[in-house]
Each structure stands twice: as structure tokens, then as C-alpha cells.
């Protein structure tokens, strides 16, 4: 597999994250901020729930007709003078993009925010070939300077404090004139000035696409900064890189999805810039790119179609599941060791990288369901995580101790007499041992529980065993009832 993951160290990374005070303060803001904003935006639109149903149905319809939609999209792009390239896997996608950059003699490439190119590790690949890549989304730019990966699919630098940003800017931009880097405003103004110079000197602009519209051959990007628009308008070449699942049939379909996207992502009614790009500039146009290419990336997506994981292809990358996930909220994105963290990443990453490397990701969930409750396209994320757990169980991946304990539990649970006798005895012994203290600070074999928690003692005896045989036989009615 060519998809890079470091998910095997999930436990160690999450421990580090929990000890990282600045990260915890950043995550605290995320947990409170974005979920509140979403809630307010949803409350302001009475039709929101109905729109979620519609968005999910629309995505399902598109996936069920994906070949037709992709062909229609390709035909429209060509009719407008653009080129479409098909990449079965990451390697092919990287090769296609490199060849395009070389065709146009590119030395500097601008990047709009694109998770697919993160998935492809495109920057590393192009830089290895001597082509400089400059991320233009503010968060992506910061993360790139720090040689980190994004920790969130919508807010890449959510894990950093402004002091961290100031430090990186001082290192990379120099310290001419003792710049003020004490406020977020000053830092943003500095990034704006630095990036403006890059915008005016780049050869190729690479963006992602939130949607690709089959009807018109347009790619759509949604941003708040305007970086994507400068990226695709100033250089002479625009390359839009997107997953094959991002196609939608019509303009009206895009309207429907846009209604749920911004609200779910940031709690905005609409993002600042929604941009429909169709072909290269027209002969009479004063600006815009002279060439327009779309790279359609499969990279494991078609393998999910028609399987129990198909619903994951509905995903529109809004990040709401990350913002509402209590596990993500504690450990942040880097703990997952994948460019796709959180609930959506825990479903997608095993598909892209293989389950043996990533078995922690579907396991590290309480199944609280907060992700599915907010997903704008109603992906049943806990159900899909459970599917991965089933595959892990079948493949005997994950901890053997847990498997044995579970098997033992299953054995007793299928033998009620043994089960109840054991339960009564065990709970009595524990209650006796605890005595008036009422709970345990340590339990033999229970370190995982008691390291940071007491174990409250059972009351003693079991409920079922305390019932009289005659009154509560499995078939007889409770005669003492009124």
C-alpha cells in the first residue's frame, strides 16, 4: 500500500497528546466552539434534517450511477477545453501530476487546500523532483512550515497556539525589523504578505474539489480565505485533483450539498467563496488559467463501492464528525497517524492502508454515536467501525487478552446455571473484600481499570439469584403481581 500511516502507535501517541497542555487547550476550544456554531446554524434552518436525508439520498444515487456520472463529467470538461486524467492509485496520480508540472515547466506550484493531495503525499513527491510546493491555506501553510501533517481535515493547524505559529514564522520569514508576532491579526497579515509574493510567481496552481458537476464539467471549491481562487486564477495552469466519488449529477445537486456542507463544517450558512471552475480561460477573458486539468483519483475508492463500506463514499469532508467526536476531542488528529483522523478517518484509513496497520482506529471509539448524529450525509459511522471490528476479529488482529476474556464471557453467558452461580459467588466475594470501604483501589488483573479509577464494589449477590424459583421461572407468570 502506498498510503502512509503511523497508526500502530495510537496508544503512545494518544498518551502524549493527553499530556500536551497546549494541545489540550487548543482542543478545548475546538470542542466548545465548532459544535456550538453548528448547533446554532442548524437551529436556524428548520429544513436541515430533511436536507440531510436528501443529501444522503443524492449521494447514494450518484454512487449507484457513478460510471455514468464520471463519463458525463469527463465529456463536459473536454467540451470546455479541459483535460481529464484518471488515476487508479496514488502512484499513478503522482505521476500524472508530475508529468503535467513538467509539461508546463513548473518550478513553483501553489496548493489550495486539498485532502486528496495530502492522501497522495503529493508535496513530498514533487519536491523530490525539484518542484517547490507552497501551501496557501493559512492552516496548511503553517503546518507545511513546521513539516507536520494537518491534524484536522478542515482546520489543519487546530492543534497549534499562536506562539507556535509565531515561532515558525520567525524561523522561516526572518526577523526583519523586529516584527510584531504577538497577535493572531499580526500573524495573519504576515502570512498574507508572504504568500502574496508566492501567488504572483507560481507556474501551476493545484486545488482539490469539493464537488465535480457532471452536467457542466465544473469543479467546485469552497473556501473562506480566497486562497483557492488565487491559486487557480494567477498561475497559467490549474490542476484540480479529486476523488472519483466527489462527482454530483447537476447544479441543483450541488446546491443541496452546499446547504449542508458549510453548516456542518463551520456553522456558517455559506462559506465565503464558492467557486465553480469550468475549463480554461476563454479567449476574451482577461485572467484565469490557460490550461485546466482534472485528475480523478480512485486509490481504493471503487473497492468500497458495492460493499458494506459504500456509505463512506458519501462523505463530503466537512469535519463535523471530528468536531463532535469525544475521542478526537481528547487526543487530536495526530494521534491517529493518518491524514484522515477522527471517525471518518477511522473508517477510511483501514481501507486505504490495510487493517493490520490500523486496527486501533476502529477500536478506539466508544460508539457514542455523536458522529453519525451530525453527519450531513448520514453515514452510519459506528456501524462501519463495527464492520472493521468484525474483520479484525475474523483476522485475529488486535489484543489476544481481550479476545480470551470475551470468549470466556461468551462461554459462561451461554450456560445460565454456571453463569448465575459464578456471578453470585464472585460478587459476594468482592463485596466481602471491599467491606464498608465500598470500592477497590486495586484489583488483581484489573490494572487497566484501577490505574486511574477506583472500582466500586458490587452490592453482593446477584439480582436473578435473589429471586425465588417459583415466582420467577422463565415461563410462569408473576403471580404476586397486582
Amino acid at each position: 500500500m502506498s498510503f502512509r500511516v503511523d497508526s500502530q502507535d495510537f496508544i503512545a501517541r494518544s498518551s502524549d497528546a493527553l499530556e500536551d497542555a497546549p494541545l489540550q487547550s487548543a482542543l478545548g476550544k475546538l470542542r466548545m466552539g465548532l459544535s456550538l456554531r453548528r448547533r446554532e446554524a442548524v437551529a436556524a434552518l428548520p429544513e436541515f434534517e430533511a436536507l440531510r436525508d436528501e443529501a444522503a439520498a443524492l449521494r447514494d444515487y450518484t454512487l449507484a450511477t457513478l460510471d455514468q456520472q464520471l463519463e458525463a463529467f469527463e465529456a463536459q470538461v473536454r467540451a470546455r477545453g479541459g483535460e481529464v486524467h484518471w488515476a487508479p492509485d496514488a502512484e499513478a496520480a503522482r505521476r500524472i501530476i508530475l508529468e503535467l508540472c513538467q509539461r508546463y515547466g513548473a518550478k513553483k506550484v501553489l496548493k489550495g487546500k486539498s485532502m486528496v493531495t495530502e492522501e497522495l503525499e503529493l508535496n513530498e513527491h514533487l519536491e523530490a523532483q525539484g518542484i517547490r510546493c507552497v501551501e496557501t491555506d493559512l492552516g496548511e501553510y503553517i503546518v507545511q512550515l513546521r513539516r507536520e501533517r494537518p491534524s484536522h481535515i478542515v482546520a489543519p493547524a487546530i492543534h497549534l497556539r499562536k506562539e507556535d505559529v509565531a515561532e515558525s514564522f520567525a524561523e522561516h520569514h526572518g526577523d526583519a525589523g523586529g516584527r510584531d508576532r504577538s497577535t493572531a491579526e499580526a500573524l495573519m497579515a504576515e502570512a498574507r504578505a508572504e504568500l502574496r509574493a508566492h501567488f504572483l510567481s507560481a507556474d501551476v496552481g493545484i486545488t482539490g474539489a469539493n464537488f465535480a458537476i457532471a452536467e457542466t464539467g465544473s469543479t467546485v471549491i469552497v473556501t473562506n480565505e480566497g486562497n483557492g481562487d488565487l491559486t487557480q486564477s494567477l498561475p497559467k495552469v490549474h490542476i484540480a485533483v479529486t476523488g472519483i466519488e466527489k462527482v454530483v449529477p447537476t447544479l441543483e445537486d450541488a446546491s443541496t450539498l452546499l446547504r449542508v456542507l458549510a453548516r456542518s463544517a463551520t456553522g456558517q450558512e455559506a462559506s465565503v467563496y464558492t467557486t465553480f471552475s469550468t475549463g480554461p480561460r476563454r479567449p476574451e477573458d482577461p485572467d484565469g488559467p490557460e490550461a485546466y486539468h482534472v485528475v480523478l483519483v480512485d486509490n481504493g475508492r471503487s473497492a468500497m463501492l458495492g460493499t458494506e463500506f459504500e456509505a463512506m463514499l458519501r462523505c463530503i469532508r466537512c469535519g463535523a464528525c471530528l468536531n463532535h467526536c469525544p475521542v478526537y476531542g481528547q487526543v487530536g488528529g495526530h494521534a491517529y497517524g493518518s491524514v484522515y483522523p477522527g471517525p471518518m478517518g477511522a473508517v477510511l484509513t483501514p481501507q486505504l492502508a490495510g487493517l493490520d496497520q490500523t486496527v486501533h482506529l476502529p477500536t478506539a471509539s466508544t460508539f457514542c454515536g455523536a458522529c453519525a448524529a451530525v453527519c450531513p450525509v448520514k453515514i452510519p459511522l459506528p456501524t462501519l467501525l463495527r464492520q472493521w471490528r468484525q474483520r479484525a476479529h475474523e483476522a485475529e488482529l488486535g489484543g489476544t487478552k481481550a479476545r480470551w476474556l470475551l470468549a470466556l464471557w461468551g462461554f459462561f453467558a451461554a450456560r445460565p446455571r454456571l453463569y448465575h452461580a459464578g456471578l453470585r459467588l464472585g460478587t459476594r466475594v468482592l463485596a466481602g473484600l471491599a467491606g464498608p470501604r465500598g470500592s477497590f483501589r486495586r484489583l488483581v488483573g484489573g490494572q487497566a481499570w484501577t490505574a486511574k479509577r477506583n472500582f466500586p464494589a458490587p452490592e453482593g449477590g446477584s439480582f436473578i439469584a435473589s429471586l425465588s424459583q417459583e415466582t420467577f421461572s422463565p415461563t410462569a407468570e408473576d403471580r404476586s403481581a397486582r
Partner: protein, 249 residues
Amino acid sequence: MRVALLVSCLVDGLRPSVGAAALKLLRAAGCTVVVPRAQTCCGQPAWNSGDRATARTLALRVLDQFAGVDAVVVPSGSCAGMVHQLPEVLGASHPRRAEAEALAARCYEITTFLVEQRDYHPGPLGQGQTLTYHDSCAGLRELGVKTAPRILLERAGYILVEMAQAETCCGFGGTFCVKYPEISVAMADEKLASAGQAGASLVVGGDVGCLLHLAGRSERSVAPLAFRHVLELLVPEREQPRALGQGTP
């Protein structure tokens, strides 16, 4: 109305008083109650761990044990939620799928059952005691249990103060709490902080698992809170066990 009580493992073994309270409340609400003696576990730990075969074996046992009643009532949103998933556990083509669907359709979390099916009004018990309610995830998001426990507590005279994070997962998550104890405890701390900010010293919930986890963590703090299953507060004080979270090991 003839109802069967699905006690749940944690109530059965660790908090039998909750089972006794369930029995008493269902009778007081005019039900004829049977407690199938051979019931053990609904299979949720196996199902959520990906062990479909064991989950299926236990699912069939549940079907056997809980046939022939008007309703199956559970003092746990989590286990009631599991019963609702039994058709999925068996799969689309299983010969007993229809039976599982029928069982799911007549299975209720107990506070919802008492309020919506029986319009039950508990006697005055609360005497103005202040408490805050933790919505456990499965009950809340799989079954929509939100108002029913609050209605019962308020009818009984308790004063409810809501915490900001009432609907956020406490970090128990079944086997999650021992597979990822550090994350689990960090989630508990956030919940406990939110409960503390609400200004109530008693935290009430509908699932013993969450309560054991929160109570165990709270006991390690400087100012432990008290924790109770909602049913404990709907029977007279003398029938209530010692609150969780008050241990002194």
C-alpha cells in the same frame, strides 16, 4: 400488561437494587412482570468487539428467553439499544430475523416505558434534592431517551440542574474503558468537571456502566460526587443502596 424484565449483566451482578427497583416500579405501574431466570447477557460486548458468532449465539438466547410477552423492559439504554440491533446481529437472511424484529419493536428502556406506555407518576420522594442528569449515549442516540428520566425525577420532586455537557460521552464505552483507559479517564474528567460546574453533588444516569466508571474516577478526586441510577431515586430512601462514588478504599 405482561412485561419481561431484561435485567442486564451490570445491574444483575453489581447493582441488584436497581433490578429490585425496576421490578417494584413496573408492578406499581400496573404490569405483570416476569423475570426470565435463564437470561444472562444480551451479547453487546461480543457484538461491539466484532465477534459476530458469539453475539449471534447470545442473540438467539435472548429470543428464546423473551418470547411471549407484551413488552421487554430494560433498566439500561445500552442493553435496550442492543436488543434493537438484534435483527442486524442475525443478518438479513436468518430464519429468526422476523422474531428479532418483533422483539426489538416491543423492547423499551425502562424510563421511556414508564412515561410513554404507562404514564407512571412516582410518589413524592425527592424532597427538593438537587441533581444533574447524564444522558448515556446509546439510550440518547439509539433510542431517543432524553425527557423520560427527567420527567420521572421531576414528578418525584427532585430538582434537576442541567450540565452543559449532559450529552457528551463519559468515556465508558464498554470494553473501550479498559482498552484505552487514559482516553476514557480524560473523557470522564471532562464530564465530571461539567457536572461539578452545574452545581449538583448528585449525578444520575440510566446506565450502570457509565455510573461505575464516573464514580470510580470521581473517588480519586478531591471532592467526589455521588452517583445513582435513576431508578434508585424512584423508590423510598430505605430501599436505596449506598450511592456510588462514596467509597473510601
